[in-house]
Symmetry: C2
């Protein structure tokens, strides 16, 4: 790919990231992004059709980094071993989130938060998949799924909202303590 394209692309990403630290996405103007990135107006529109598309592509890229590097565990037939692997996997994801703290925190306001939830939720359905079926509670599996995944995402959002104060390990421990109640 042309170097020039790369340059403007990252200039735009960097500009948006910087602006997102100060205000919500919906309050940021295309012109501001253009000025911050120091590019021409038509250049912006030759790269992205709209401001929303920019956000989506930027998130796509970021989340694929966060999640793709977190490989799914091999599924053994031993449930408790699986359970430990799941905890390790989730903790691993939290570490990745911590790595991208700067970008993720700024995205977690306004409309863009929903993108996060959607991505995360899709990913977790796979991760939690058969763990959920092993939970022995007398409620529909749909409800179980909603409860387990929803409360996990919530917890992560809460963690991010508080500036990632605790360590990933602490969060995972606390979450499973609340969920499993051994």
């Amino acid at each position: 790919m042309d170097r020039r394209q790369q340059k403007t692309r990252t200039a735009i990403y960097d500009a948006l990231t910087k602006l997102l630290r100060k205000r919500r996405f919906e309050d940021i103007t295309v012109q501001e992004i253009i000025d911050e990135a120091n590019i021409g107006r038509s250049t912006f529109y030759s790269h992205f059709e709209t401001k929303d598309q920019l956000l989506e592509q930027m998130c796509d890229e970021m989340f694929s980094h966060v999640f793709s590097e977190s490989l799914m565990p091999e599924k053994s037939h031993d449930f408790s071993a699986n359970h430990e692997e799941l905890k390790a996997l989730l903790e691993h994801i939290l570490w990745h989130i911590k790595d991208h703290e700067d970008n993720i925190s700024s995205i977690m306001h306004g409309e863009s938060e929903k993108l996060f939830t959607r991505y995360f939720s899709g990913y977790l359905e796979d991760a939690f998949g058969d763990m959920i079926s092993h939970i022995d509670i007398d409620v529909s599996s749909e409800f179980k799924k909603q409860f387990v995944i929803g409360s996990f995402i919530n917890t992560v959002k809460w963690w991010i909202g508080n500036g990632l104060t605790q360590s990933p390990g602490e969060i995972i421990d606390a979450y499973f303590k609340c969920l499993v109640r051994k």
Copy 2:
């Protein structure tokens, strides 16, 4: 208050409610609301400064209905009695939500969903208050609060998103089964 004011006010509310059934709040135009309400442009702006203010006031009114009629239980010193009262209170709220199904469902998209969460969360902090301190898990009380309230709101959102298929009683039962794991 002047009857005319009342009329235009409810005309505006009704118009917005109707439009919200079809698209998200952020995609609705002031002019559309005006046309749907069949009022003059300047009339709208003499009642509300902006579109957002309209939404906020409308939600204020609705949520105060939903929650104000749900009185807090008297706090006894018997925890398990308190617990039953809490379940009854929560079920009561869900019934109120069901009553306002039409309005609430349309509000639960886009930015307005956050208003719901904020209101609900504030209300639940009171409701769950001392119940949370009685849960014996070795995690910080902040975390407990986040987990309990967050997962409840999630559940309710999920319920609403699915068209309030189950009965309030079923939802409360399922929620407490997952939470308490007796």
